[in-house]
Subunit: 407 residues, 2 copies
Amino acid sequence: MTVPGRVLVVGAGLVGTSVGLGLRPGGTDVLLADASPTVAAVAADLGAGRLPAGGVHLGSGSGTDDGTDLDGPPGPVREGDEPDLVVVAAPPDVTAGLVVRALRRYPRAVVTDVASTKEGVVRRVLAAAGEDAARYVGGHPMAGRERSGPMAARGDLFVGRPWVLTPVPGTSPEAVDLVRTTAGRLGAVVVELDPASHDEAVALVSHLPQVAASLVAARLVGAPGQAVGLAGQGLRDVTRIAASDPVLWAQILAGNAVPLARQLRLLREDLDRALAALEAVAAAGAPGLPGASDPAASGGPAGSPTGAPVGALARLVAEGNAGRATVPGKHGDAPAVWATVPVLVPDRPGALASLIGTIGEVGVNIEDLRIEHSPGRLTGVTEVAVLPAERDRLVRELRERGWSVPD
Amino acid sequence: MTVPGRVLVVGAGLVGTSVGLGLRPGGTDVLLADASPTVAAVAADLGAGRLPAGGVHLGSGSGTDDGTDLDGPPGPVREGDEPDLVVVAAPPDVTAGLVVRALRRYPRAVVTDVASTKEGVVRRVLAAAGEDAARYVGGHPMAGRERSGPMAARGDLFVGRPWVLTPVPGTSPEAVDLVRTTAGRLGAVVVELDPASHDEAVALVSHLPQVAASLVAARLVGAPGQAVGLAGQGLRDVTRIAASDPVLWAQILAGNAVPLARQLRLLREDLDRALAALEAVAAAGAPGLPGASDPAASGGPAGSPTGAPVGALARLVAEGNAGRATVPGKHGDAPAVWATVPVLVPDRPGALASLIGTIGEVGVNIEDLRIEHSPGRLTGVTEVAVLPAERDRLVRELRERGWSVPD
């Protein structure tokens, strides 16, 4: 297992700085470069690495806007600054160019990147780098935050997260091994995929939900306050990732245009079916319930919405059930179904602490925890998710200790 | 302030049973009726109320499928079973009919319902009930769970949640007062809206996110396991409510067809713009990045995606930012921005307990808490949300106590 002794991080944003913060405690020498000298200095100040000495190899005078001097001729590099691994953690639109230049500049280094789409970057590198491309391993750590920049970085950003590597037939196994080891030292779970499969996968599980969240959130602009005042946890969950950075995400979405457009067209077909069903219901009798034309209807079977339009809506929701069931739970295995224990918790310092302290005493592991967000009230329900086999014991123990656990 | 001494709950599902469970501890006499005698018996067994004696007024022999004998002629009712308030908590498609019959059957009772759309129900009741309609108050408790049925009921289901009342000009103020008091005793925050405004609001904040979640989740059906294996918290959040009951939700969506279709058409316009932008990017050069036709491009400004299509994507995400910022936080006031403190927590019994116990000792209130779900690893990051003013102190105190709090 090869471990890189020196790593050059090109791009000291959230991901690059987090790589530095995560590798340095293990003794890796981390060099930092960024198009913005200020950003690089902030990352260094945070402890993510050191700035290259004297600008010999990584000065900012190259005339490019990436703050690196990767365009210089390859040749003898100063002892002590030759990296074993270059991690290009720059914006997606400049990634391929930087990878190619890093391969040329450091003829013995392995080069990887962190761009969130891979087929385009890999193709461009293969086309431009010739046999140097054997030292390039495409990568994508599936970790991120709503915030960006070095100040948001964390050395544990990648802990437990998938880190996809996309080697191709010509990639050197030693290069793959080095990147795999590095990702592993950052706590990531390495997954290998071919570049096209990676891009299809992230279009589905990352880019599609981002667009959907943005589409729903965009509808809230200008909505009456009384409307959003009724929002519950559902709307909050669906729109959470709509807070993401617009310029970065425009690049990410554009960089995966073909697979993402394919997913969005399929989604639009389902949307059009739902819309047609709603319009058919509306046409059959405002405000939409079959039987609405008979206001004093008995409420019996004759009034039930059993027509084809309502069936189409039920099918959509049922398909959503099936899709949702495929989403892995906390430990990465198939649908995790926890048992849920609701507990009434006053909203004051120490109350939740006391609850969870009690659960710890009882010896039950908390798999997940959801605090109900309650407008205007200072008491809420906390739902504690535990292994189903532990549910009954936890309920009993909590009640014995005076907690309010509804049936 | 009027308090109902006796409440008849028609429909012993999640909401009806929760009403009974919530009212009985305060001394209210709760009668239960349901189309299914088994469901009614389960609700009674759970402690939500009692079954009407002898089927005199609420037998199951009426030939309707709702299990109530509301069709009988009004007249002297047996002493002890005349309700002050009838809560119709039946499926939306039978609600209006049951309200009308309850108004006739109990000429002194106030009648309310819990259907999730209001304009249609109110219109049908007004058209059919004549002057009796003055005793009807439309209602909608904004509380629910992914699960349904009496077994999922909780007496605190409504605590801190909005409960919308939709009185109209002819509604008796005393009737509104009685329902308001009842909702208040269940812990709900009462909001008054006219029926149409209510329906517009829930189309936006409840039904639109439900459809979006179902649409995204439906795309996961049949996806390769390696793709959903890459799913992160974003996909989990966006699709959580896609686990909802298909038949119930088809009724809810159909019942609000006109406002919901309007919202979905607006969303589709934005979706079409996003699709057009992606297709333009793809046409300009697969795999989508402007400049892709020049693989060895410098990576400088010339390669940046600055064209109109990428701008359109950035605008969509930016609009989503603005919309997301309007969503109220935990306490119902304008955008709650908590400060977040990340803490590394081993995934074993007692570890989270110990963390939260420590936070309690420090005297900081936990506003929210998010456990990062990490596939394949037994250590995760817990993000603790606190008031911004308390952040620095919490970080310091946690570190002093040996917790790993990344910068």
